[in-house]
Amino acid sequence: MTSREPARPSPDALLRQAALEARGRLKIFLGASPGVGKTYEMLLQGAARLNDGIDTVIGVVETHGRAETEQLVAPFEVIPRSAIAYHGRILSEMDLDAVIARAPALVLVDELAHSNAPDARHPKRWQDIEELRDAGIDVFTTVNIQHIESLTDVVAGFTHVRVRETVPDHVLESAEIEIVDLPPDELIERLKAGKVYIREEAARALHHFFSKSNLSALRELALRRAAQTVDAQMLDHLKAHALGGTYAGSERILVAVSELPGSDALVRTAKRLSDALRAPWTALHVETPRDARLSLADRERLSATLSLAASLGATIVTIPAASVIEGMRDQLAAMHATQVVIGKSQRSWWFELRHGSVVDRLVRASPGLAIHVIPAAGEVRAAKPAVTQPLDWASWGSYAITIAAVAALTLVALLLNPWIGYQSIDLLYLLPVVACASTLGLRPGILAGVLAGLAYNWFFLPPIHTFTIYDPQNVITVAVLIGVGVLVSQLAGRVRAQALLGGRSARENAAIAGFAKTLGALSDEAETAHAICAEVSRILEVDTVLLLRDGRTTRLVAACPPENRLSAIENAAVDWVFDRGEPAGRGTGTLTSSEWQFRPLATALGVLAVLGVARGDSSEPVPADRMLLLMSLIDQAALAHERLRLEAEMRDVASIRERDDLRATLLSSIGHDLRTPLTAIGAAADALAEDGRDAVLVATIRDQAQRLARFFDDLIEITRIEAGALAIRTEPIDLTDAVASAVHDMRIALTGRAIELDVPPNLPLVRADPRLLGHILINLLDNAAKFGAAGSAIRFEGRRVPDGVTLAVIDYGPGLPPGMELRAFDRFHRLKGSDRTGGTGLGLAIVKGFAQAMHLSVSAMNRADASGAHFSILFPAALLIDEAA
């Protein structure tokens, strides 16, 4: 790289580091074989941590009754295992939930490769450990090298023992690895001394397995694998810290997989290649027309191969194409692959003659590509090739038609023979050959060619009624007839295949479109749920259930067929999906003993619903080739649920707003109507005053009438604020004006009080709504009049401050009780013992509401200089108007 840009950390590497730091750390004690002392070493290091004061517990440790190991276990707290009854046996497994609930800093879990009892949450212990790490718990664990997924082929190659319990490579990649090493001679010594516990199932292969050469090879593998992991972690570190290490960023690997049994080996090879080259890799399955005719076993194997690739870190791509070579060419171009891993299957020379060798064609099609051809594993296909059409009624029928067609033409030719001569008859025979080959397929086509050749020979070529051919030219004629049959049927077959493939894509697209259309027309959650179940059932030919969650309760809202119900373990799987947003159940990595596979209907709003699919015959609910279709349907279903959810929220908001609007209108008209009698009361009081009646009494009537009017104004306004119906019309306002008007409006209530006005005339103008600001000031004045000592002054103070202008209303009362400063503006909050002053508690809530609506802030505190409350409004700088303008 000659770029002058400074080295920048790769975001991916940083993310990986961040994820590592948040999760619990994993340390793996890696051994070459049983008996090297992994558990012992793990316990020793665990004890050291325990001594350091780190909260360390044992999740699972097998002591195999050895005293020295048991002695090591003693200081630890051991989490009791959970017992699971299975087929009359009691299996004890690590109690995952108990460990998580105990939440230690570090947990020791022996045997990373262990397979859990069938009813456990995860099928594999390494998945348990992943969950522990997700919970932020550090884990120590042990594993032998032959359990590493990508190495099982290699190990099986020289030990002839195939390991069933495997651990995906990515588990190792995120772990710290410590090699527990013992030279082979010492191990064999230990073995002979009976110091090594050997599991029963391995005992049979023992003699062979523990040979010195095997142990040496295993040891080398373990050391190399550990070195590789350290290397990979170093690279991540380099990338995260942009230290500028070199790495081959340009390599990309493609592995082509098929339903053939050797594909797993291809995937593992590609993984090793990817590790060695530090290159991303993609597993490709080209979906050709032949896929439609794969047996159930083939599909399951294909699906398993693709999941293996995914678990080893590959990107999975399935593309439809007329032939494998075409699909691979497209994918190679799309991803700019530099290396390809393909298998060379033990197909018959006849198959390759007809189809061409994929390998040969790939070499010709993509010069510059490194191609790794892996010979197929020893397992030869036992079954007939998948291309074989079952010889059902229709096939027998087509052979019959072929024979009849050739026979019919022979009759016609016999009739015509006297006129046209036997040399031209061969052309006539092309008719049934082409017809049968193009309409009935390859085998009837070949049959037609052979029959035509034989019939021509028997009936027309001299010597007639023998199969002897004198003229060499006639041999060619027969060969041509057969050749035409083969060629035409191949061509026709390809055309049909294209049509079949196109037809299937079109059908799937139509199904998805129809599904979306059906859902789009529905506006009710239950109807939508039923439609999703029914449609997914129909399109994928599976049983379905759909579940929704309200709060913490999950309920089944629709099923197809409607009588479908879920068991307890299946409900647990559903909860898992709701909680984690990841699929669970059969065919996934979690709770696999369920018959159902559950997938989340998730959008940006979260997991809105869970769809369960199952097949009546308990087979894999969704074969790999239908997975894309299922995912598309789920996407549509999730969108439909999201739409419903948003619509419901809109309706709720609309109805609340409507109700609030109604309340505001009602109050507004009540307030309006109330003003008329209040006016009459006021006018009557004035009339009494003119007549010379008690002036104080009259003033009280007048004051209370106005207070009542203000109270109704407050009620109306608070309703408007809460309904969001507050209309704001701002204009430039002089605070001097605003204060003077408020004082003028309140002149009756303020009778006998001194008003100190300290609002300098050189303050900037502010932008506010005059009516709302007036209301704020009136309410603050009212509040000061209520709580200030009788007859005491009320002070207005305007000040220019760094972040705007403040206007304070200050009284000389007892002030706010301690701690009430923040609650003073709460609705209906009144100060203790303030009943007699007749406040509603609304006034200050309105102050706050109006202030917020105008982007002002209000605060309440006690005066620093004397007893009294200090209410302040801040007009931020953005609302000030520069007078220079």
């Binding site: 309006h672 003003r675 008329t676 009698p677 209040l678 006016t679 009459a680 009361i681 006021g682 006018a683 009557a684 004035d686 009339a687 003119e690 007048r702 009438a705 106005q706 009017a709 104004d713 019309r729 204009e731 430039p732 306002i733 002089d734 001097t736 004006d737 605003a738 003077a740 008007s741 004082v743 003028h744 009756i748 008003i755 006005l757 300290d758 609002v759 300098p760 005339p761 103008l765 709504d769 005059p770 009516r771 600001l773 007036g774 108007i881 007078e883 303008a885």
Partner: protein, 228 residues
């Protein structure tokens, strides 16, 4: 007391009775109308000097009646129960002379009535000198004195003060003042008005922080007090 013929229009009998009583006591001749129909009938019988018009009539919107009444040359004092300043501005723009907000006090109502009637009686151009306390505004000489000392005003300040003085006691809307003093182009520039009012207060008010001469009506406009 100077008399005057006043028509009180309100659908609430109690208010009509009390207002009539107060006005009669101060020497006005008063007639009453309960709705728009009675109002129009009363006006055609005899044109009053002033109509005290409640905007919330049962048969017509009071705002609709204002242009029609204004065309007859009668003074219009609007009674409104609405808190909203926009309605007041609309009423003023349509031709009302002033407004009183319910619940009003009788003193305030009488003051407004007096102001409205004075402007009816005094034809435009007659009152060339306005005195408030010790301040005198001479509209012909274009001078302002405070205790016989000349106060210097800028042309805009004088124009604004003269406009308010000509309609002393009446509220003039922001739009109205801006249009007359600054021109149609500045009809929305309220900050001009605020700044000039502030300058006038500094020169005329005894305590500029507590203005009593130049009164603000929030959201509506300004009025020049009759008796501070």
């Amino acid at each position: 007391m100077t008399g005057g013929d006043i028509l009180v229009v309100d659908d609430e009998p109690a208010i009509r009775t009390l207002v009539t009583r107060a006005l009669t006591r101060h020497g006005y001749g008063v007639r009453e109308a309960a709705d728009a129909r009675q109002l129009l009938h009363a006006i055609t019988v005899k044109r009053p000097d002033l109509v005290l018009l409640d905007l919330g009539l049962p048969d017509r919107d009071g705002l609709e009646l204002i242009p029609q009444l204004h065309a007859t040359g009668v003074a219009i004092l609007v009674l409104t129960a609405r808190y909203d300043s926009a309605e007041k501005v609309t009423a003023l723009d349509l031709g009302a002379d002033d407004y009183v907000t319910k619940p009003f006090d009788t003193e305030e109502l009488l003051a407004r009535v007096r102001t409205c009637l004075r402007h009816r009686h005094v034809a435009a151009g007659e009152a060339r000198q306005v005195t408030i306390g010790d301040r005198t505004i001479d509209l012909d000489l274009r001078t302002v004195t405070r205790a016989d000392v000349d106060i210097h005003l800028t042309p805009k300040e004088f124009a604004l003060l003269a406009m308010l003085a000509k309609h002393q006691g009446r509220v003039l809307t922001h739009g109205n003042l801006l249009r007359e003093v600054w021109g149609e182009a500045h009809v929305a520039d309220i900050e001009y008005l605020r700044v000039t009012i502030r300058a006038l207060r500094l020169k005329l008010e005894l305590d500029p922080a507590n203005p009593v001469l130049l009164r603000n009506e929030p959201g509506v406009g300004y009025r020049l007090s009759v008796d501070p």
